[in-house]
């Protein structure tokens, strides 16, 4: 972000923090109230998933593209359990290891007819599920040219984030820590740097484990968080979803409010004058 844009944002955030309110989050020309986005994977059952998503207050909900089970022995599609008119469905390309594969999945997702958004994942390694940045950039360029609003899952590297922005991405989604790890925000500096330098929204995706992780992440000034496992694998996903909703709001407001400076020495908060003789 250039200095002018940063000053503008600071001015806007000052006004809104005084009011204790926030601007909507705008991605790819669409506005959203909630800065928390949630996935639909790994829940114990679909009823629990639907209740947790409702409790999270999320508007953007991610889904994946997979083969229909022709024998219907497994669960039906996600849309039997999640009303598509209540949520903004964000399809992902999870499980794709090449640009070509991710492009194929993205096109299939768009054909489902809900929207042109795609959460682009091109995975480079099965153990860490870290992104293949070369494949990611290739797919991001192609899909952006085809009119997709690309939200690119990426690492905490500034240069990749800048190149994704140049590639036409509608948002960059750096990780807090590896997918499904629940290790929290490992590189706050990296995330802050990306937010400072990139103009498109920065949504931290993956790695948030509990509410404090979400709060600290939002305090870095990012535009939102996407999470799945932290809710799905909580002992009580509905309660955790409520906690995450509050944590994202708290972290966002704390960022807008502007924290006090850090000091290496104590400073009394009570007057030192007027003491008894």
């Amino acid at each position: 972000m250039n200095a002018g844009a940063y000053a503008y944002l600071s001015g806007m955030t000052a006004i809104h923090s005084e009011l204790g309110t926030d601007l909507p989050l705008t991605i790819g020309g669409r506005s959203f109230r909630s800065r928390l986005m949630v996935g639909t994977g790994k829940y114990r059952n679909n009823t629990e998933m639907a209740r947790a998503i409702e409790a999270s207050g999320a508007e953007i909900v991610t889904v994946a593209v997979r083969r229909v089970d022709l024998d219907r022995t497994k669960e039906e599609g996600i849309l039997y359990h999640l009303r598509p008119d209540e949520y903004f469905l964000l399809a992902n390309t999870a499980g794709c290891y090449t640009a070509e594969e991710a492009i194929r999945y993205a096109r299939l997702a768009r054909e489902a007819g809900f929207n042109e958004f795609i959460k682009l994942e091109v995975i480079g390694d099965r153990e860490t599920l870290l992104p293949d940045t070369e494949g990611l950039l290739t797919a991001a360029r192609t899909l952006s040219r085809e009119g997709f609003a690309v939200l690119a899952y990426t690492n905490d590297d500034l240069i990749t984030a800048l190149r994704l922005e140049d590639a036409g991405c509608a948002a960059v989604m750096p990780l807090a820590s590896p997918i499904g790890s629940g290790l929290g925000l490992l590189n706050p500096y990296g995330i802050r740097t990306i937010k400072r330098r990139v103009s498109v929204p920065v949504i931290v995706d993956a790695g948030v484990g509990t509410a404090s992780d979400a709060c600290v992440t939002m305090e870095q000034g990012v535009d939102g968080i996407l999470m799945n496992t932290a809710l799905a694998e909580a002992k009580n996903p509905v309660a955790m979803a409520s906690a995450m909703r509050l944590a994202v709001e708290a972290g966002r407001l704390a960022f807008l409010a502007g924290r006090m400076p850090r000091r290496e020495v104590a400073m009394p908060s009570t007057p030192e004058t007027g003491m008894l003789e």
Binding site: G39, A64, G77, L108
Partner: protein, 69 residues
């Protein structure tokens, strides 16, 4: 009437020909509004399902949305 051998989601299926993609979906009891169809790596848009004919040896992928993060 001929039998067409078609690979659907990786499984070999036989359908009575001539048949369209829409016929295949009806045969599989699938609502075309809930699936996306790829025929030999090309997406078949919904308005074209009724007019797109299947041929011996075709590869069809039928996908939908499932849970994911």
């Amino acid at each position: 009437m001929t039998q067409l051998r078609i690979l659907v989601n990786g499984e070999l299926r036989q359908v009575s020909g001539p048949a369209t993609v829409a016929d295949l979906l009806r045969h599989l009891n699938l609502d075309p509004r809930t699936v996306v169809v790829e025929l030999n790596r090309q997406i078949v848009r919904r308005p074209r399902l009724e007019e797109t004919a299947l041929a011996e040896g075709d590869t069809v992928e039928l996908v939908h949305f499932v849970g994911g993060g």
